[in-house]
């Protein structure tokens, strides 16, 4: 195993070096780094050109100049690590450090969401193969896959971001729109749940009525300008989450698991008011710590309830705790919403369409959290939509393949419930091939992020890249590439390791 790891690491390093050489030379030959000086009218033009040439060793041909850059990298071993300076004289390491945070945020958020939603769609379509839902989801994933990312980003910016901000200024939803949305929602749910005609009609009617009611409520109370859930809604949603999680994780027959989840939800609701009291003094890390604590409490409650399968109860408790905690957190963010929207720098237009944070905005953890959210929302949605399609197709194909295996037949023959067969036997095995896909997708997401950042005016890695290419700034380009390359290599390596760890058929003896 260790030899395998070392060999893989060395091979990755060589691959990275070759790739960096390619990028360096190609970038250096892509244009003239003295272009802006040549066209300038400054009197000391000749001097400036000579200065830049000397500073960046432009008189050395690029295939050799690469090694000057590489020596800066290698000097990391004696503590003098340097990526050089960009054309404006700023250290590239500082530039990268400033840019990397936001881009990683964007990529992580869209990756997690795309994987989660994509797998959900893929699994459900596979279980209901050749249904209307399956065909519609298939068509939609082909459509999403064919969307140009920048086009989606611009459309989202205009027709979601700016349109929503305009709506907030004059918060009226016409009744006709409510009826239309309710009917569409009813139709969607009907198609998703399916079944015989009678069930379809019941689903259609209840989904239409529920959606209509929610939207009427939103329209009447001007909910989007002062959103909140309140303890009653949290209690209801919490109970729903508890039942749903138990149904998926342990099956509703397992009463102890069900009691675990319900008690966990109850504890969450009981802690609602105490949480409000301490919430103003919280920071990001203490919120994460609280989240971990909540999961631990959920697991402990599950352990206490035990039941026929202690693991199942613990799992149900932990997952329920996580979701109830997220609900309480969401409610707390909503309470700060009107302060955020009303503040001078936001001025009633909360959905950010430019940049990754509102300049000059300061406030508590909650205010800043909302600010990050409003700026991340649209770029993440745009980026996610496109990789979503791939995940849903792959997980569908993967589950279909697994469901045809002999061990699934055996599981059924043993008399296991459909839930156990799907969740415990099929689903886990279907996820194995997806690890490789995730690794490959990260590279695509980095490319997508360049575009999305461009549309939304973020100054992240994407801007670094575009600027570097426009000014033929090789050092800055290499700063960009080093980060993306290392990320891509790391994910590929992780995928290989995860694959061999998950699938015992794959042996990694070198």
């Amino acid at each position: 195993m260790l030899t395998f790891l070392v060999r893989r690491l060395l091979a990755s390093l060589v691959v990275l070096l070759v790739a960096s050489y390619i990028v360096y030379v190609l970038t250096a030959y892509s244009g003239d780094p003295l272009e802006d000086l040549r066209q300038s009218t400054a009197r000391n033009k000749e001097y400036l050109m000579q200065q830049r040439t000397e500073k960046f060793n432009l008189d050395v041909p690029p295939p050799l100049r690469y090694f000057i850059w590489l020596s800066g990298l290698l000097r990391g071993f004696i503590g003098q690590f340097t990526l050089g300076e960009n054309i404006l004289g700023q250290a590239v390491t500082d530039q990268v450090a400033a840019a990397i945070g936001m881009t990683l945020q964007l990529i992580t958020a869209s990756l997690v969401l795309a994987v989660f939603i994509g797998i959900t769609i893929g699994i459900t379509t596979a279980l209901r193969q050749y249904s209307t839902y399956d065909y519609s989801a298939t068509f939609l994933s082909f459509l999403f896959f064919s969307l140009p990312s920048f086009w989606v980003a611009v459309m989202l910016k205009q027709y979601v971001g700016i349109a929503f901000n305009d709506y907030l200024e004059d918060p009226v939803i016409p009744p006709l729109v409510i009826v239309g949305v309710a009917l569409v929602a009813g139709l969607v749910w009907m198609v998703i749940i399916g079944g015989p005609v009678r069930r379809r009609l019941i689903v259609f009617a209840s989904a239409t009525l529920a959606t209509g009611a929610v939207f009427t409520f939103i329209a009447l109370t001007d909910w989007f300008n002062d959103p909140s859930l309140g303890i009653v809604v949290i209690a209801l949603l919490g109970a729903g989450v508890a039942v749903l999680v138990t149904a998926l994780v342990a099956g509703l027959r397992n009463r102890k698991a069900l009691y675990t989840s319900l008690v966990v939800a109850l504890v969450g609701v009981a802690l609602y008011y105490p949480f409000q009291l301490i919430s103003l003094s919280l920071t990001l890390w203490s919120v994460i710590a609280l989240g971990v604590l909540a999961i631990v409490v959920g697991v402990v409650i599950g352990w206490l309830f035990a039941g026929p399968d202690r693991d199942q109860s613990m799992r149900a408790g932990g997952i329920t705790a996580l979701f109830v905690g997220l609900l309480v957190l969401l409610d707390r963010f909503m309470q700060s919403w009107d302060i955020y929207v009303g503040s001078g720098t936001i001025n009633g237009r909360p959905i950010g369409t430019v940049g990754s944070a509102t300049p000059g905005l300061t406030g508590s953890f909650w205010i800043e959290g909302i600010d990050t959210f409003t700026h991340l929302l649209l770029p993440t949605a745009g980026l996610m939509l496109i990789s979503l399609a791939g995940y849903s197709r792959y997980s569908r194909a993967s589950l279909l393949e697994v469901m045809n295996q002999d061990y699934i037949r055996t599981a059924r023959a043993k008399g296991l419930t459909e839930r156990t067969v799907v969740v415990r036997h099929a689903f886990r095995n279907a996820l194995i091939p997806l690890t490789t896909i995730v690794a490959f997708d990260v590279g695509g997401l980095i490319g997508g992020a360049v575009i999305t950042e461009n549309v939304f005016g973020w100054s992240g890695m994407g801007k670094l890249f575009v600027d570097a290419l426009t000014t033929v700034d090789v050092n800055q380009m290499m700063g960009f590439f080093l980060v993306t390359g290392v990320v891509a290599i790391t994910f590929n390596l992780l995928a290989d390791l995860a694959y061999s760890a998950l699938d015992p058929r794959i042996r990694v003896n070198s």
């Binding site: 091979a11 691959v15 990275l16 790739a19 390619i22 990028v23 190609l26 970038t27 030959y29 892509s30 596979a126 209901r128 193969q129 050749y130 249904s131 298939t138 994933s141 082909f142 459509l143 896959f145 064919s146 140009p148 920048f150 086009w151 611009v154 205009q158 399916g194 079944g195 015989p196 990789s387 399609a389 791939g390 995940y391 197709r393 569908r396 194909a397 279909l400 393949e401 469901m403 045809n404 059924r412 896909i437 997708d441 590279g443 695509g444 490319g447 997508g448 360049v450 575009i451 461009n454 890249f465 290419l469 426009t470 380009m477 960009f480 590439f481 993306t484 390359g485 891509a488 590929n492």
Partner: protein, 351 residues
């Protein structure tokens, strides 16, 4: 980028939803039908027949041909010295009087930009360019990928190691990044050169797949037989191995093409692709980006055409994938299902 894949071929529902019925019956009926269907048909005819049966792919094929026809007939061709007139009264470079501020009208169905260009003509010109780039890049990438993949897979050993590590090195550079870098070097030489450059970037996925296929095909008996008969390496590769990998190659070529149009558009959108005065669908969106608030229609049409082209190519690829897969029975399913309902009319297809 992840290609959408649709490799479900097995009849899941027979095992999933009818655990109580005898599966042997169903299988026997299906096998009988399959045998009858493929009796005395060549491989090509079989693939063609399966493809024609794939509804989404056939519709897509017609829509795609329609777009090609529209783009090349409307404003005519003006490339490599060949000039043919089109039936559209305006062209993409001339400036016309602004009608009603450029809002789409009967005269200018796609509207006009702020100067007075006819957007329909521009979008058609952009579509021509984008289609040309798709085909040229697709062919270049396919040829290169097949060459690298088959050499690596056939000779194995050190050559394989070397070629695959090189492929890895290209793969870890995000496609958009390397295309933009190359684009900014070569875009002044015109869009044909850009297309070739795109092809030189997008071959990696093809080479990996072809290598995998060749690795297994080279172990077949007929390859041994050919070698015993004295065939040279190149003859074995080109006459015996590659024709058997044609399914993988063709299907993946469509994927490369749909990736090409999106990459070209993205690179042109960033400003490193096709340059003014020449236009592609991506560069049109790039040029109109600032005018979005006043003239949103400038934005809709090029985007719409990119989506149509990419979507139809993806569906055609999906149809080809199903057609080339010997395990696929989707077309057969309906027939088999009919047969089954005759046998067991009371059976309800439940979900």
């Amino acid at each position: 980028m992840i290609p959408p894949s649709d490799p479900e071929r097995q009849n899941i529902e027979e095992t999933t939803h009818f655990p109580e019925t005898s599966e042997d019956d169903v299988e026997q009926v299906e096998n009988a039908i399959e045998l009858k269907e493929v009796e005395g048909i060549s491989q090509t005819r079989l693939v063609l027949r399966r493809f024609v049966r794939h509804k989404a792919a056939m519709i897509s094929l017609f829509v795609f041909l329609g777009v090609v026809g529209l783009a090349f007939s409307s404003i005519g061709i003006d490339a490599m010295g060949i000039k043919t007139p089109g039936w559209w009264q305006f062209n993409s470079v001339a400036i016309y009087d602004l009608l009603d501020g450029g809002v789409p009208s009967a005269t200018h169905p796609f509207g006009q930009d702020e100067v007075g260009h006819d957007i329909f003509a521009q979008v058609m010109r952009g579509t021509q360019q984008s289609l040309m780039i798709v085909f040229v890049a697709g062919i270049v990438a396919t040829l290169l990928g097949v060459l690298v993949g088959s050499i690596a897979g056939f000779f194995r050993g050190r050559i394989d190691q070397l070629l695959m590590r090189f492929t890895d090195a290209i793969i870890i550079i995000p496609v958009l990044v390397i295309t933009a870098v190359l684009g900014s070097t070569f875009n002044r030489s015109g869009s044909f050169v850009l297309a070739i450059v795109l092809g030189l970037v997008l071959w990696t996925g093809m080479s990996r797949l072809v290598r995998g296929d060749v690795l297994s095909l080279r172990e077949r008996e007929y390859v041994d037989a050919a070698r015993v008969a004295g065939a040279s390496n190149s003859r074995i590769i080109f006459r015996h191995i590659l024709p058997n990998a044609i399914g993988v190659i063709i299907v993946n070529a469509t994927l490369v093409m749909s990736a090409t149009i999106l990459t070209e558009a993205a690179v042109s959108f960033l400003g490193f692709g096709v340059q003014f005065p020449d236009v592609s669908l991506g560069s049109l969106i790039h040029n109109f980006q600032t005018a979005f608030n006043t003239r949103p229609w400038l934005f809709w049409w090029p985007g719409l055409f990119i989506i149509i082209i990419a979507l139809t190519i993806n569906f055609i690829g999906d149809g080809l994938r199903d057609a080339f897969d010997p395990r696929q029975k989707r077309g057969l399913n309906r027939v088999a299902r009919k047969q089954r309902t005759v046998v067991r009319p009371a059976e309800e297809v439940g979900a």
